[in-house]
């Protein structure tokens, strides 16, 4: 590469101020170096990344060992935020609520979106229409979705209980019941994200060769056999990816809960990020909230590490 520069550089007339004693091609040479441009082109990214990601990651870790309300001086409290969290009944409750939310919404979302993707992967008519319909909730803002679903869940004139009534079930007071509020939030959340997972599954299905199905046809396999013994196993990397991503995002659920129930009734739908939000931006317990953020980080990290480990096992790059 240097040889190339030496060949081209002298042939171009120089512009701009000439360094007094330096070689005339110095600036030009610099302009042809990868390193120069790597630095220049990465500069905005590095600055933004340092200011709003890397430094804050360490800052919140440090904050998690302090007590600070943004007014009085910061106090170093060691591990006491973490020990306090372990004994905070509300935190324990919101922790299990988060697990409940993730534990139900992730499998439900995966099973339904897999079925939909398989149905849509056929040589079927109105494919584009179906795809658009399932993606509509994905592009809508959670605020709009929450408003609409609060209306749907209204016990007296909502659509949900109207349909339940039609099949002879008396629906509960969804959002004001400590038992049914969480299932209601989960249903809405699954409904909103179904289209996203379905599309990822569709991409995964494209990768399965037709040969498998043809061979199975020759052997006289029925459709459910093909589904169970070809589609599902060959999709397992996709399923795994969708599972990991869904778990990570449902650990961080906030909008849905905040907008539909404000965490109520009686904290029955309050989740980690909701409690974190209250502590940080209502009570300004920045240290305590940071400790919660790090527990959340740890949960996400565990899931991500499992993903890395499985990927290596399967030999996917």
């Amino acid at each position: 590469m240097n040889a190339e520069n030496r060949l081209t550089a002298p042939s171009v007339p120089m512009r701009g101020p000439t360094p007094v004693s330096g070689k005339p091609s110095k600036l030009k040479k610099l302009l042809h170096k990868d390193g120069t441009w790597a630095f220049l082109l990465l500069l905005p990214n590095i600055l933004g990344f340092l200011a709003f990601t890397l430094i804050p990651v360490f800052a919140s870790f440090a904050l998690s060992f302090t007590a600070w309300d943004m007014l009085s001086p910061m106090q170093w409290v060691g591990l006491s935020n973490y020990t306090q969290l372990a004994n905070d009944e509300t935190f324990i409750k919101v922790f299990w609520n988060t697990i409940y939310f993730a534990g139900v919404s992730v499998p439900a979302g995966i099973v339904i979106s897999l079925f939909l993707a398989v149905a849509l992967d056929q040589n079927i008519r109105f494919k584009k229409f179906y795809r658009a319909a399932f993606f509509l909730p994905v592009v809508s803002s959670m605020v709009a979705v929450a408003v609409v679903w609060q209306f749907i869940y209204n016990p007296e004139y909502g659509m949900m209980n109207f349909f339940l009534d039609k099949i002879g079930i008396r629906g509960p007071d969804w959002l004001t019941s400590t038992v049914w509020a969480m299932p209601a939030v989960i249903i809405t959340s699954v409904w909103k994200n179904l289209g996203f997972n379905m599309l990822i599954y569709l991409a995964g299905l494209q990768g399965i060769s037709e040969d498998y199905y043809e061979a199975a046809d020759i052997d006289g396999a029925r459709w459910h056999q093909k589904f169970l013994f070809i589609t599902v196993p060959l999709l397992s990397p996709t399923t795994f990816f969708v599972t990991v991503m869904s778990f990570i995002s449902s650990f961080q659920v906030f909008d849905t809960v905040f907008l539909m129930t404000q965490g109520g009734p009686a904290r029955s739908t309050s989740v980690i990020v909701h409690y974190l939000y209250e502590n940080a931006f209502k009570y300004f317990s920045m240290g305590y909230a940071s400790a919660m953020a790090y527990i959340l980080f740890f949960m996400v990290l565990v899931i991500t590490l499992i993903q890395f480990w499985r990927q290596q096992k399967w030999g996917i790059h």
Binding site: K33, L41, P44, S141, I316
Partner: protein, 275 residues
């Protein structure tokens, strides 16, 4: 053959039921937004009231500055989308093509930050914004969103697929690395850029947590935050509330219907992360 037929019919039934479940709430939203309040409580629900109440839309736009929310959302989203396309394509190009020391290490670090939950950096960022008096300004929403590890990753993956022979020819002709980026990679990556752009647009346009944390005054609010504040005020005046909801989701749904393929591709590409 018969088996395939049965399967197809079943598939259609499943999809139709699913699609109805997806669309019905939207239809109901529009229909409620055009009703009188008392008609909402009619049981069983009807699709239309006796008269179409366009007034609900007037009422909501008189009480709430939806045009301001809309312009705020538009301004913030456009700035962030353009900025991310520039910064992500530059960084993506560097990581895909330029050779320098510690490249892999730096890229690895960059990738690792993708798994940091937003809530972890949210508190220090809030403190930074407060320190620089940026609370309740659009800077607090724009500045942290100017660069993106995800966008960098996405465009790097795309740049890796561009054949090296193109840039070799340009280099022999005396092109600088920047020239290669600007004259070859940027023009060739229009579809990938559009995909990323649409994706970022959707994320920023619908973002709720950041505006909730940073914005207080009504004139600075984005559409989702404005809608949420309206809900607090109108409680159960469903027709008016639904009119606001319709206004707030129409822009993105329109873009989605026009640029559907880019949305679809965006999701599919984001799936690449795992494979």
């Amino acid at each position: 053959m018969k088996q395939i037929r049965v399967f197809k019919v079943t598939a259609h039934l499943v999809l139709l039921a699913g699609a109805l479940t997806m669309i019905l709430p939207f239809i109901w939203t529009v229909s409620t937004s055009l009703k009188q309040l008392k008609e909402v409580f009619v049981f069983p629900p009807t699709l239309f009231g006796e008269r179409i109440q366009w007034e609900n839309y007037l009422q909501i736009s008189e009480r709430f500055p939806f045009d301001i929310y809309f312009l705020n959302s538009l301004k913030i989203t456009i700035i962030v989308v353009i900025a991310q396309l520039i910064t992500s394509s530059m960084a993506g190009f560097v990581f895909a093509r330029l050779r320098f020391r510690y490249r892999e290490l730096l890229f690895g670090l960059y990738l690792a930050t993708m798994m940091v939950p937003a809530q972890v950096v949210m508190i220090p960022n809030f403190i930074i914004m407060r320190h620089y008096n940026l609370i309740d300004t659009h800077y607090s929403l724009i500045l942290p969103a100017l660069v993106s590890a995800f966008g960098t990753f996405l465009l790097r993956q795309f740049f890796l697929t561009i054949p090296a022979s193109l840039e070799d020819a340009a280099k022999i002709d005396g092109c600088t690395p920047f020239g290669v980026y600007w004259r070859i990679f940027v023009p060739l990556s229009k579809p990938a850029m559009a995909t990323l752009g649409v994706f970022v647009f959707m994320g920023i346009w619908n973002d709720f947590l950041a505006p909730l944390v940073y914005i207080n005054s009504q004139m600075k609010m984005t559409l989702p935050l404005g809608l949420a504040s309206m809900q607090g005020m109108y409680g159960t005046d469903w027709p008016v509330l639904m009119a606001g909801t319709v206004i707030s989701i129409i822009p993105l749904i329109t873009i989605f219907l026009l640029a559907q393929d880019f949305f679809i591709k965006g999701v599919t590409l984001s799936g690449l992360k795992g494979e």
